[in-house]
Symmetry: C2
């Protein structure tokens, strides 16, 4: 953090979590325990302040910026909701590409625009958050192809599917990779073929934040996959990224390892939304206070090693 | 926490870290990188607010109660320093018992008295902290005998000794166990033979806090050894204990495993003082807010599993 800011006496006054929502065509393959309508319901929950990320962001005194990047239903207009739909849900990745290349660019640019608009109000640190029923499926596909890992190894239970459903999910992801043949070295290609609109939007936030030298805290598995897309587009983002927690999704660690990030919270969380990033803010702020306020051996008049 | 408090709508207004200091005769065996005078110097640092625990306790809005349980030198009187010396440092455990059985009881009772005095000002949660040059040596001895682990396996580098010094430290601890033959099933015997005054005092804080149904957050390796002593005296304390972080000291995990505690912070810390407990407070408070403030599926109007 000090190297990003170029000093060690600063504070993180403006902490902002970007929680982006979108739907996924692959939900039709039965990869999630929850119905697709939950994506929109959770957006309303974010807006009314009742979700996990709202509670934890308030605890961290952080703002939550909620945006619809591609929720299937038309959401009610609200002054607290940014609507930048690329489309109403991606296409089913088991059958073909999630989106066109043009839509992938649009998703990223929407994320950049949302960051830039919020940046005018002040941002000192960013947290990534997301909501999208079935989005551990594209996140697994992204992680498998970019980090060159077996699908079996990095596919988890999402919101809690059983063994049989997980085996089905693995087959769907393997089929998506087979059908689409994404190029793991090309972040845009991976996003277009097996990604999601919220994932693309968050990749845009990463790019925009890093271009302004603002540190970015990765949340769980899906936001790590967005960071993988961003790093696939521009590897220079990596020194600006921080990991927060270690999710129960096995692919999360694979993504963080690829990004050379070490999470410091172990809470068996798997909620997304930006909840882990919000919890991490308090620890990160504490670390800055240590750099700024703690006495040195000299100022504290403490003897050195023998 | 909710089961301790018997409700789920409470808050942790009064957070208190007990940072106890004492010296160790075994320091004469060259087990630490730092001279013994640092114990007293760090107490003054705690009192002037410059230590790590001060910064992190302020971040968590917690009080720090500093007490001298057996520092070698006579410390200057201060209204912010509790002086309850059992003796000026323990005896060298490599040569014989650290203290008499009566002194072990005294150390525990001093801890109980310090807790009880502070309890009149209000305490909702306790953090354990300590300072004492060479005190990873008694902590290793305690952990080895109570958790039935090889000394080699649970002895670390303390403040940063090299391989040769660590081999010497292992030999000293093995000798201390050989010479004293502590009974791992008898917490008081272990404390008297290979413990420390700050460790005994913290064991007293654990007993006193749990008797009042106040949760206790274990800090690093030494405070875990104090919790082992307390659990050895009364196993009913275990449900009141919480782990904070995972120290670089290998014995820390052994102690936490024995206590059936899972730390949630991984920060490669090895400072003690209560620093890890202070950092944990913010996460623990966040967890209470989740229980208290987050919407349910029903109140948030979110659909259930299919």
């Amino acid at each position: 953090l000090c190297s990003i800011y170029g000093k060690n006496d600063f504070s993180l006054t403006n902490k902002v979590i970007f929680t982006f929502a979108a739907d996924h065509g692959v939900a039709a393959q039965g990869v999630s325990l929850f119905p697709q309508e939950v994506t929109g319901q959770m957006v309303y929950n974010f807006l009314s302040g009742g979700a996990g990320v709202n509670v934890l962001a308030a605890h961290a005194q952080a703002r939550v910026v909620v945006a619809d990047l591609g929720v299937a239903e038309d959401l009610n207009v609200s002054p607290r909701l940014i609507i930048k739909k690329v489309a109403k849900a991606t296409a089913d990745i088991a059958l073909g590409p999630a989106m066109t290349k043009q839509q992938a660019i649009q998703a990223i640019e929407n994320g950049i625009e949302i960051f830039e608009a919020e940046f005018t109000k002040g941002i000192d640190i960013v947290g990534l958050g997301e909501m999208g029923i079935a989005n551990t499926t594209p996140a697994s596909a992204i992680t498998a192809v970019i980090c060159k890992r077996a699908v079996e190894e990095i596919t988890g239970r999402g919101t809690g599917i059983d063994d049989i459903a997980r085996q089905n999910k693995i087959k769907i992801i393997e089929r998506a990779l087979q059908v689409n043949q994404p190029d793991g070295k090309n972040g845009l290609d991976v996003l277009a073929k097996v990604g999601g609109f919220e994932i693309g939007g968050l990749a845009g936030v990463v790019l925009a934040a890093c271009s302004r030298r603002i540190p970015v805290v990765v949340d769980g598995f899906i936001s790590a996959s967005a960071a993988l897309i961003a790093a696939g587009l521009c590897s220079k983002v990596k020194p600006f990224l921080f990991a927060s927690h270690n999710s129960v999704e096995p692919g999360h660690k694979a993504g963080l390892d690829w990004l050379e990030l070490k999470p410091f919270l172990n809470l068996d969380m798997r909620l997304g939304e930006g909840t882990g990033a919000a919890l991490a803010f308090g620890i990160i702020e504490a670390s800055i206070k240590i750099a700024r306020e703690m006495a040195t051996f000299e100022s504290g008049r403490v003897s050195r090693e023998k």
